[in-house]
Subunit: 741 residues, 2 copies
């Protein structure tokens, strides 16, 4: 019934105002506000509007039972999101590790005979993988490029970017990131996994993808945008939980970084999803341990376990740690600024020239990366192996193709290793493991670390923004742990103490760079602890993060905020601008005319409805293309028709008085996740006042015990509520206040 | 100037309405709403009201520089709160451990000769400590009784309980909890530490305590209630961080459990406080390790380190773990219900009879607890020591007064130990350590565990609500780990696997009971991980928590919510009641008349101001007694005077239209932490509409680079904002819409 209305009416909603039969003064105008699409971006429906519709409809049609069904479906979907994202993460991990494993063992086998042949094979292998990735992305899923986190943040803030949650984006993201990460580029798979989780969640919420006829009416219980956003929040958490095997970190990431609000109901469901992911990933890894997954399977559930590292620290060490924090803040802010330059240049010049340029660019970066990571270690002279305690399990030099430190690469003597190759000519995971490793003092020379830092930083900046799925977490950890280990080396030399581990400083460096670039706090802290399994370093990680974030904030915004701003996504920062304090709501709403047609000199605001471009009962098809507005053809008769838009009208949108401080309006937007608010004149009369007590309705179905207790305990419990009984309010209308002249 | 007004005017504010010179129609009434005190509870000032005042005043007087000073002071206070709470926690810990250490070594020394003499000494020692505690609380600081968390939750929700943040409450809490915990009662020191942190924070925010002339005008920069609440949130986090040495858990506890909103600015500061606490506690513990703190000092930073426990688990184990979750939910819900009964009985009958009854009650509980914990192990026959690997460091039987398992108590033979005494005749910390311990299979018999479970559960229920500072965390962990270990024993016997550890099940049991009673999720999870240092069990802890919370929620509310309800504190739950969906704002506001005096038939709402009972520029003296309303004597001339209340008026309170769904109103209250909201008629005209883009004001001071980028990148970045320029809105007024008739 509704969809009939909509098929006929959505276009006309632009032209024809609804006549509402129950309006007092005869002929009023509904308010239509244009959600005009600009730059490929369409505005999403307002939360509250749809929420309100859905509630009304539910109440009318189905009532409490349907709500219970809906809750059950929500939890079932949270389960499915957990399983789906967990499996996607396992698939990506297995694929990447296997490609990388084949690549390195093949190259190692060939360089035993000829370094040149090995070099060529290495470059071609990488090029092929990167080419597959960039081809998938450019030809098939353009929205899969980049990390996707700024776009998801935008979506959860209420701004849709075209195609960001399509099924093809999901596919492009999964296979694209296998290619780009397996191809050895200076990027990670963590950001893309967050996007993958969000896509899975969104597709589930939609009941499948309409394009491939996979959708099911059975599961389309989510009428409200808010439910969809909640699902996507779950998906984000699942992505982080799967990427870092950090379930609590995932929950906090989703709530701190991605959404701007915090509801304990939602947290509860997000928590469940993360737990499911953890169980799925753990089970899969247990299965892989028996050798079912090729090169994958040697690692534990903790990605970079440094539980054997430094346990204690002296007060003097706080100074170098603070230095790490400052370096992290500076390098992180610089990274954000450089990538902002480069991305804006790419968007305005390079990527306008079409897909061929994007492909050539990615291939060029791949060749550059391969050349540097293979070539630079060749220039480095090898170091004699240190005396290694055989009980520690560390081998020097290690045999090729194995995980571990002390790789032998282009060394003339037997008992030598190439320290630069140990981190450069390696998968990023293993390089980080080596940098974090304890009991390997003086493994790296300062010269090698510095070379690596400069080259990798440059590569990470250049790679950022190319047309492949790309995360910034792992590159950030690489960069940070390199300078962290550098500082650690100086500390070891300077303080001459035995219990200082360079690996611990590498970990702090990683935390500081991520803090300086992404500006996260609690979630990053928890993620760092979960991926390294060393709780004892927690206070230090917290302090380093505090310093690096403070330093970074002095220069610019966080990486995701900068990128979102560049893409024109209107994210609201957590802190309102200082100038807002002096402004009123009236000043902010500008000179737009809201009510276009006034008739008979009198208008009354009936409510808020948004001009939409889509059908299907106002649920926006974010994941599938749906019907375009251009596809609907209306005859001139159609355009003459009136439709009653009352069912789609939000009769009680949020309002603020005209002279309210803009700071307060800002907080209202952020805390409630609003997209629109009406500015109204100072209220001419007051109907009443609601206090907290009015909202403490005792359910009639409350347990018998409670009622008894309360009756006995009347003085303390019920006295407050008894003063202003709710039922009285329901029975009597308050007409004592008069209307303004 | 303002305080002058207030001294004269506050009482009269009840009687005299302000004449506002700038009102349009001549003679209007300001709206005064009574925050009537009932049951010893006074309502606090509304957030937004005071916030608004403070902003205006700042802008007028001092501007940007003052705001910077304020921010600096906020961070400085966060530092002080961290140091203060950390030191308080260290002091309490050292005192408790030393009292307990003396007690047990003395008793052990005496029972070598006579068990009866030992028994008497043990009872007297405990009685003395409990007596000191209950005496301090009843005579000196009545608000220090109980855990304090429900009251702090209430305060942060906007409801003040008399005396909850006084200086004497702080003192009473610290010394009272030393007595009650040291005296061996079935309660913990964690809840009181949260309250301690909150008190420290509140006193700092007030600039000291006025009563003891310790206040300083220099630090009284916090005009706004919101700043005070933020400080108290920091204090709560610091309390948890100090109690469990769990900094991240503290942050999450403060944000999930205590406050109902989530602002990233606040989180950042809370995070800093927690980090400071961690550093302070760690430093103090390092200092104690060299033997400066008597019996305290043998433990590490992690309270119950079980990093050596079970690492892997099989699928079959998920079933017993789910059983643990269900038991936790059931026992937790039962605990909440029983304590609710008992507390309500105490409040209505027992404690009405005065302080003497409270003292006698606490002493009786102390004697009962001592008798049971000493007497029951006497009835238990000893078990022969198992063969212990000497390398594991476990001793059987351990020498008296030492920490560890296998205590020898009333055993006839040399190589025997008493398993019931190992957990009962011990400090709670050590008992938990023994229950969590790995590599001690079959240490406890099922009979002993069951006896302990029943007795301790009963004692915990009985002790709850007596007039001593009491936390429920540690008793909860005791109860949970006991049945967890019981289930673990059956699993070990049933599955006959070698890698199953009973201690791991004990940990899961503890998590399940806390989840079933307190209903926390993420914060509890993180706290459990931080106190046991075993990240690998995280997915299991999450699943157990999910089950136990779900089971518990089926029966009743969480412990703190139940207790808050009993005390008449109107906390808003996270989820609005189902009935609210069908209700409108108008229905909820009841039949109170808001505007009492109408003159000339016309009224106009000027704003919101609250009737207050305190002076000092509307900052409520929560921590000191301040001036009572009865102390102000006004002559009849005074009562004839008019004062201008305009400076204290919030001219733009939040408003909702009369037909808004109550669900939406509820969310507004919770998310913004409101206490009052006006219900107004449907807006007669609309001045404008604010969208997210209107709130994205570019600062003029933005970096040169950004502006350049944006100019170049106009199409993508600025186009959106350019459509509705804010400056236009500032220059032109929108008068196109007409007023309603």
């Amino acid at each position: 019934m509704l969809s009939n209305h909509l098929h006929n009416g959505l276009e006309t909603a632009r032209l024809v105002w609804s006549r509402l039969p129950n309006s007092e003064d005869g002929d009023f105008d509904a308010v239509g506000i244009s959600g005009k699409s600009d730059g490929g971006r369409t505005e999403s429906l307002d939360y509250e509007v749809i929420e309100n519709f859905a509630y009304r409809e539910e109440q009318a049609n189905r009532g409490r039972l349907f709500v219970m069904y809906q809750v059950a479906v929500k939890w079932f979907f949270a389960l499915l999101i957990g399983i789906g994202t967990g499996l996607a993460a396992v698939f990506i991990n297995i694929s990447v590790e296997n490609f990388a494993g084949w690549k390195f063992s093949l190259t190692f086998a060939i360089i035993q005979k000829s370094y040149l042949a090995g070099f060529v094979v290495y470059i071609l292998f990488n090029l092929l993988l990167v080419l597959s990735s960039v081809y998938i992305v450019t030809q098939f899923a353009p929205a899969a490029a980049g990390s996707g986190i700024p776009e998801i943040k935008g979506y959860l803030n209420g701004v849709d970017i075209h195609g960001i949650l399509f099924f093809r984006t999901l596919i492009g993201k999964i296979f694209g990131s296998i290619g780009s990460v397996g191809g050895g580029l200076a990027l990670g798979k963590e950001g893309p996994l967050v996007h993958t989780g969000a896509c899975i969640a969104s597709l589930l919420g939609q009941g499948g993808t309409t394009k491939y006829h996979l959708s099911s009416r059975w599961l389309q219980v989510f009428r409200t945008d808010r439910d969809r956003r909640d699902l996507v929040t779950c998906g984000c958490a699942a992505g982080v939980a799967a990427a870092f095997r950090a379930p609590v970190g995932g929950v906090l990431f989703a709530l701190e970084e991605v959404t701007s609000w915090w509801r304990s109901q939602l947290m509860w469901r997000v928590f469940f999803t993360s737990a499911i992911v953890a169980v799925v990933v753990r089970t899969a890894m247990g299965w892989c341990k028996s050798g079912n997954c090729g090169h994958f399977g040697s690692g534990g559930f903790i990605i970079w376990d440094i539980s054997g590292g430094q346990e204690d620290y002296s007060f003097q060490e706080l100074l170098p740690m603070a230095v790490i924090g400052i370096i992290g803040g500076l390098l992180g802010a610089l990274f954000n600024q450089l990538t902002l330059y480069l991305t804006s240049w790419r968007r305005n010049y390079l990527h306008k020239k079409g897909n061929r340029v994007k492909i050539i660019e990615a291939c060029a970066i791949s060749i550059l990366t391969s050349t540097i990571s293979f070539g630079l270690p060749l220039l480095r002279t090898c170091t004699p192996c240190p005396e290694v305690d055989p009980a520690s399990g560390i081998e020097c030099p290690r045999s090729p193709g194995m995980y571990g430190n002390y790789v032998k690469f282009y060394c003339s003597k037997d008992q030598e290793y190439n320290d630069l190759a140990t981190i450069f000519f390696n998968t990023q995971d293993d390089a980080i493991r080596n940098l974090f490793s304890a009991k390997t003092l003086h493994e790296f020379s300062a010269q090698s670390l510095l070379t690596f830092l400069v080259m990798f930083y440059t590569l990470a900046v250049v790679t950022f923004g190319s047309a492949v799925p790309a995360g910034q977490f792992v590159p950030g950890i690489m960069i940070g742990s390199t300078y962290g280990r550098l500082v650690g080396m100086f500390v070891v030399n300077f303080y001459q103490k035995l219990n200082i581990e360079e690996g611990t400083y590498a970990l702090l460096g990683a935390a500081s760079f991520l803090g300086g670039s992404m500006r996260m706090t609690v979630s990053l802290c928890v993620i760092m602890v979960e991926i390294t399994n060393n709780l004892k370093l927690l206070p230090l990680i917290m302090l380093v993060l505090l310093i690096s974030k403070a330093v970074g904030d002095a220069f610019n915004e966080g990486l995701y905020e900068e990128q979102a701003r560049l893409r024109g996504i209107p994210l609201l920062e957590s802190k309102p601008k200082y100038e807002m304090r002096k402004m009123t709501a009236k000043e902010a709403c500008g000179n737009r005319k809201v009510i276009d047609h006034t008739r008979g000199g009198g208008t009354l605001v009936i409510g808020l409805m948004l001009r939409r471009h889509s059908f299907s009962e106002f649920v926006k098809p974010v994941s599938s293309r749906g019907l375009s507005i251009e596809d609907i053809h209306l005859s001139s008769d159609d355009l003459e028709m009136y439709i009653d838009l009352a069912p789609f009208l939000n009769p009680s949108p949020y309002v603020v008085p005209e002279d309210m401080s803009l700071t307060k309006v800002y907080n209202l937007f952020r805390q409630l996740g609003l997209r629109h608010i009406f500015v109204v004149p100072h209220a001419s009369r007051i109907i009443g006042l609601i206090t907290r007590k009015d909202l403490l309705i005792e359910e009639l179905s409350i347990s018998g015990f409670n009622r008894k207790t309360q009756r006995r305990d009347k003085r303390t419990t019920r006295s407050a509520a008894a003063e202003d009984p709710l039922l009285d309010g329901l029975l009597h209308d308050n007409n004592s206040s008069s209307r303004s002249s």
